[in-house]
Symmetry: D2
Subunit: 263 residues, 4 copies
């Protein structure tokens, strides 16, 4: 049967990334509280294609994914990247995977317990110029406006904000990267904001978070800076990008702030 993809291409255009996207797949990730967590992911898998080949073999991406039966972590994703390079005879490959991650979280006063969901992702690439690994999370938080508090006789508008932290961990001795838990990034975001958000709050808890947020007003600028300060202090972080977006309760648009940094 004819192998169209393997034909020669004469246009002289090398392709940076070719592959599949929107591939949904159940996965298992590491969980700081409970060791492992099953969740559902969306994958993007790609390789570089030299200018002389007409096409790549798309089915091999799914084959590789299907055979990859272990956890999806900073330890194992580089192996999937290497597997793609081999299987598709490619000089470089990249894997991106996004998934909801759940953390059991207790209310601050009553200890009422529930699950909080966070959008998380990993990105691993490998090629002749070396390997890279990146992780990211969006953490919903409460923000309370310092200006509104300062200029009003009472009250201050608050809203839900989203703190997105992306980090590249520092290289570790074993040729991989250092472990950073999503739970650590969640804590950094929650402490930078006016208050963390919770899955369940009884009245005693609601009183607590209301006054806690009022006592700690924060602009998007403040939240992004406090996150930046925390991440700069952490030797395991070699690069980060933090974006904070407030869904302003007094407007129909968002306010945002963004900082990128390299050690």
């Amino acid at each position: 049967m004819k192998d169209t993809q393997s034909q020669r291409d004469e246009r002289g255009i090398a392709i940076d990334r070719v592959g599949v996207s929107g591939v949904r797949w159940p996965i298992v990730v590491w969980d700081r509280q409970f060791e492992k967590q099953g969740t559902t992911a969306t994958f993007k898998l790609a390789v570089a294609l030299p200018s002389e080949f007409k096409g790549t073999h798309m089915s091999r991406f799914i084959e590789a994914l299907n055979e990859y039966r272990g956890e999806v972590t900073f330890k194992t994703l580089p192996r999937l990247v290497a597997e793609l390079r081999t299987r598709l005879t490619a000089s470089s490959a990249v894997v991106e995977v996004r998934f909801p991650y759940f953390v059991e979280k207790r209310a601050p006063v009553t200890n009422a317990v529930g699950r909080m969901d966070f959008d998380c992702w990993f990105r691993a690439s490998g090629g002749e110029s070396g390997d890279t690994f990146q992780m990211g999370i969006t953490v919903p938080v409460t923000s309370l406006c310092p200006c509104s508090k300062a200029i009003s006789d009472y009250g201050a508008h608050s809203q839900r904000g989203y703190v997105t932290i992306e980090v590249r961990p520092t290289k570790s001795d074993d040729n991989g990267v250092m472990l950073i838990w999503f739970e650590e990034l969640i804590q950094i975001a929650g402490e930078a904001a006016s208050c963390p958000v919770y899955p369940i709050l009884k009245r005693e808890d609601e009183r607590y978070v209301t006054m806690h947020a009022y006592d700690k007003p924060a602009f998007v600028e403040d939240i992004v800076r406090d996150c930046a300060v925390s991440l700069q202090r952490d030797g395991r972080v070699s690069w980060f990008k933090v974006n904070v977006e407030n869904h302003e309760s007094i407007h129909n648009h968002a306010a945002f702030a963004e900082v990128e940094w390299q050690r």
Copy 2:
């Protein structure tokens, strides 16, 4: 050339609605302040298909839309519906159209002016059992939690909420329906909430809306009820459905309330 669609079908299944969706098109709608407003819409157009016909002629929907050069209003949409019935020899037809609608709005103290956007829609249908017309809008608002205020020594969490109002206007004498402006529904939603939201607020305005919201705490239950009371009082409204959804600033989920009513 063979007309596959006009062939006879033997399965005995009449189709309730068949047509096109996701059709984006520039339109003109009525504007209370400035008479007319150009905007961009997404259309769904459909007809009923009797069991004996294999298919409908999809290109005729776009032809009808293309020839329909006027405004999109409660007056003209029923004509497009009638046109579809004729052109596609259908016993009934329906048109749904969604678009952002812009209103020039002034800040409450400084009068600083900007545009506010609202998601709006019309739905018109016509058939042997008569015509129907429905309009809807989603109005962003500020809501401030009465419980949070009552139990806290200071502060109260607020957030952006979305008030979605759908109404069927009462039949008018001229065989159509009575005119209801989007601006009237916006006002109903804003008055039911803790505070309307604004495109632009200077510091004096921010102080005003902060204290206004604190002075008028409202649950989703309160907002949906106040909208219901206003709409019931309005003789031009023969049916409504109101949904209020708060993007809680202390949780990562929403609170909502819904009321449907028929005169």
Copy 3:
């Protein structure tokens, strides 16, 4: 501490549904191949609120969800509905839950295996007028246009279509409803379409699905009707709604058809 929600309301407006939405939570569902499947869900939970109460207690929805540790099935969801009615002293309650569901699927010729994802949902309600249960799924399929094939010397345009089937199962002897597997609805949709879609296809498989689709052209009207015929024949189905939407490869809009039916 003041219980604002329990205060008396004088507006005379009963609320049809009040509760929480957008609650993401890990769940376990029944799996025809592997018995059980862990996945991630989004819940909407609500109760009716009589006109005399000011508000409902939103935290109780999450408490009920947190204590509900078993599988999410047609057997257990009615129990969560009953639990909500008790816990919130409500005359009626409703639970909607949406989740990706994964099926291991083999390529038609080579048997190459992969996972296919489907958007699925359950809706259970309970009240004085009885209980209802509904399930739904969106099945991606290949559709090939009969008109395009009939009028062209060679070729025929094909595209991805989405078959959405919602059913209410017939009441069973044990006071519940009859079991219908998602896999059965997937099969109905795949057989009605020009061809099912697959997670992985080697060249031999691609040849097979290409010619299979060409041999079985189908309009959205055909697909919706074939699904309707299959569902009407199945005594376990007391009601259904089928929507077929083709993301036309020759247009930038979709074609759709819809049939609703009650036994």
Copy 4:
């Protein structure tokens, strides 16, 4: 009244971008056929904030937008950028604006006319290191699989694909950039694909596009390369990124290819 934003910040973190996002606003853009076109846009506006200032004044972004009454083009956006730098005393500013753009398009045989919608965007920035301008468009196309055609006795699967072209125009003599029309990028994408897509096709047209696509099979790799070749030849293009994404009709995931290039 206290100006919280103007207070001194001691954390030593400069903010790369701070501003507003999700601002919907009606705009006018240049139209090659009809000179001008009204449409609806979503803006993101931001400035850099030095480490010593606590916050920016968000309302000034909307004031600037409100006063900016002209067209949104490669000529005028740099002026809005400059205005933001002045108004917010910022060393750099950036404006991103996304909008649907409509083109009147005729069917290839019957000349039946309709509107096609395209997602378009501009991005303009200005700072001490100079100005940049970038434009982008997503063009829906038909793609027909060369492998499927080569290995099958008849037929070949086709699907809707999306060609996203982003370009930075070459600097012009008048200190701005050279004019590139969206219509030119639409043509490049349509010629690279198996066939352009159309708003309206009568049967003669459908026959034409079916056979045209069958005669010109193209992988995502082919489409991205043909676009790259066309753009490299055009002296007005100093940089481009092309992404092609096929919504495979035989899978539930997409295939994609991506090339970035700098003159």
